[in-house]
């Protein structure tokens, strides 16, 4: 099934008001720990997981994820290992897996070869924060050919025109960045947020995910009814750093 249908099917279940997407940096602190963290996420009902393939220049990320990228690379994590790990995860778990990374990783691997591999492995979507629809012509062709959803990003700075243009290139869902800035800092939701979400809804028919600074049950409760998917990123990285992978299960279970 395509990513959007999978999301709609989950949302149709009466007990599900909002879905959860979590984020991990592959190779940080190790693939072994990633494996355990993902198991706990899946067991506690996470519907989507974005696996970030580390890159040396993570321009759109905040300090925690920057450090995780750097340490994963220093530990020797390769793109090949990430792909093999993704294959294992997609085989083991029924959850929808996505790749998040920067365009150079695909470009260097060969854009078509990367799509082909990701399709074989069972990846459902790509989040590439430095690839707007105006660039990487081959990427957009391959996304259609291999039927992997290109997830595009809405920001509070996006005009309605821009939102419509992005929606025309996006599939699966739209990732709405809750505020300006990079990943990691907590977001204080104010009244302008509702108005922003209304603008997002008005300009796409795709499901909406909200991320950046979502870290606790209160945040998820707040998003319920407004967004279709809440994205937990830096919060679980901090949690694993401080309390180890076994803390992830209870944390996820307590979010909704």
């Amino acid at each position: 099934m395509q990513l959007e249908q999978l999301i709609r099917a989950e949302l149709a279940k009466p007990e599900k008001d909002i879905l959860l997407m979590t984020h991990i940096v592959l190779g940080y602190p190790s693939l072994e720990v990633n494996r355990e963290v993902i198991r706990q996420m899946v067991e506690n009902g996470v519907e989507l997981i974005e696996m970030q393939i580390p890159f040396s220049e993570p321009m759109a990320d905040g300090p925690t994820i920057v450090r995780a990228n750097q340490e994963a690379l220093e530990a020797g994590t390769t793109v090949k290992e990430c792909l093999a790990f993704a294959e294992e995860m997609c085989r083991e778990h029924a959850t929808s897996f996505l790749f998040m990374t920067y365009y150079n990783i695909l470009y260097k691997y060969g854009v078509e070869a990367f799509f082909k591999k990701a399709k074989d492995v069972g990846i459902k979507g790509f989040i590439i924060p430095d690839l707007p629809p105006e660039e990487g012509e081959e990427f957009w062709r391959m996304a259609a050919q291999y039927d992997i959803a290109p997830i595009l990003i809405y920001a509070p700075t996006s005009t309605e025109d821009r939102m419509r243009k992005l929606a025309a290139s996006a599939k699966g869902f739209i990732y709405c960045v809750a505020r300006k800035g990079v990943t990691g800092t907590h977001t204080d939701f104010d009244s302008s947020f509702n108005e922003y979400m209304a603008r997002c809804r008005k300009n796409t028919t795709l499901p909406l995910a909200v991320g950046f600074g979502i870290s606790c049950r209160d945040d998820i409760t707040f998003l319920t009814g407004k967004a279709d998917i809440g994205v937990i990123g830096t919060a679980t990285i901090n949690l694993v750093d401080q309390k180890g992978p076994e803390a992830v299960g209870p944390f996820i279970a307590g979010l909704r």
């Binding site: 750097q70 690379l73 690839l131």
Partner: protein
Amino acid sequence: MQKPGYYGQWGGAFIPEVLFETFQELNAAFTAAKADPSFWQEYVDLMATYSCRATPLTHAANLSKHFGGAQIFIKREDLNHTGAHKANNVMGQGLLVKKMGKKRVIAETGAGQHGVATATMAAKFGLECTIYMGEEDVMRQRPNVFWMEKLGATVVPVTSGSKTLKDAINEAFRDWVTRMDDTHYVMGTVCGPHPFPEMVAWFQSIIGKEAHKQILKQFGSLPARVYACVGGGSNAMGIFQGFLDHPQVELIGVEAGGHGIDSGQHAARLASKDASAGVAQGYHTMFLQNSDGQMMDTHSVAAGLDYVGVSPILTDLWDQGRVRFEAATDKEVMAALELTMKREGIIPALESSHAFVQAYKEAGDMKKDEALIINMSGRGDKDIFTIAHAFNDPSWKAFIIKKGAEYAA
């Protein structure tokens, strides 16, 4: 038709979505400025009264005689206010910032020259200013850190990645995506997403415009060759633009050969075989990266050349065979620096000294009735610690030890 912001297959604008409107605004402001002759006039007037434009073209008679070949001319960007060509770009972007009504500027810096120029512009125009600088560069260009702070800027040492120029660029972008409403990012070189390469090249073209006129007046004909060091490529693009339309003028870009082209410890993107095409820091060019697309650690004695990427405009000119690329090692740079000081009483920056190295290698083989121009992108004062260290200068060392003891007391 060529896509805007592309030079052959190189360039583009690979930007996070949150900056889309900011780039729209910047593109509009830049396009309007470029189309308005009074903007360029305002820029030239500012550079004439606040900086030292036109900078002279100096005939290096002693060195010409020493090598016994081409007549050597030096374009003196060191005499620009703040001591390098960086001021050209910064004052130009400063005028644009005023038109856009922004209150704050940020910049990356490697050698600290671009940081000092930006801090200077911010002081003059009444803007808030934050400079990002790799921790390694903060250490090796300490005098410039001091001046930036004294000029009122906040200097943020960057500790991620290789702690050099590319990491400072990443950090500046992270600031910008948080505060784009009131902030302009003054990119320091002809790299990054469109319109930066075009914009910085436009402001720096003032070097080539002057040099073209000056060489005709002083020498009577065009030079046979023009040399410039290449970090991101802004001083090179600046002077090359004065001669691009004259195929008889050979253009030579000199990159950082570090410990040698075969050592793996250099920053030679186009002069070595180690770089490959990639997309990073918002643009498509040749990067020093591994087979996974991870950027490599580069090395150069010159902080301003110690960078993984290179201007998409230069990569295209290299593709077309219009610009030849060479590399100069750290060691060769010290020798050329010493010779230039002793023979001409001129102290080039470590970056600029790379261009001198290649010119010196070739001058003797050229004819006496030919001229070559070296673009001296900046003065060497900022490098006093590095140069003194490299020369292992005993009296300087004794002075530092004494000063250290004085401060420790």
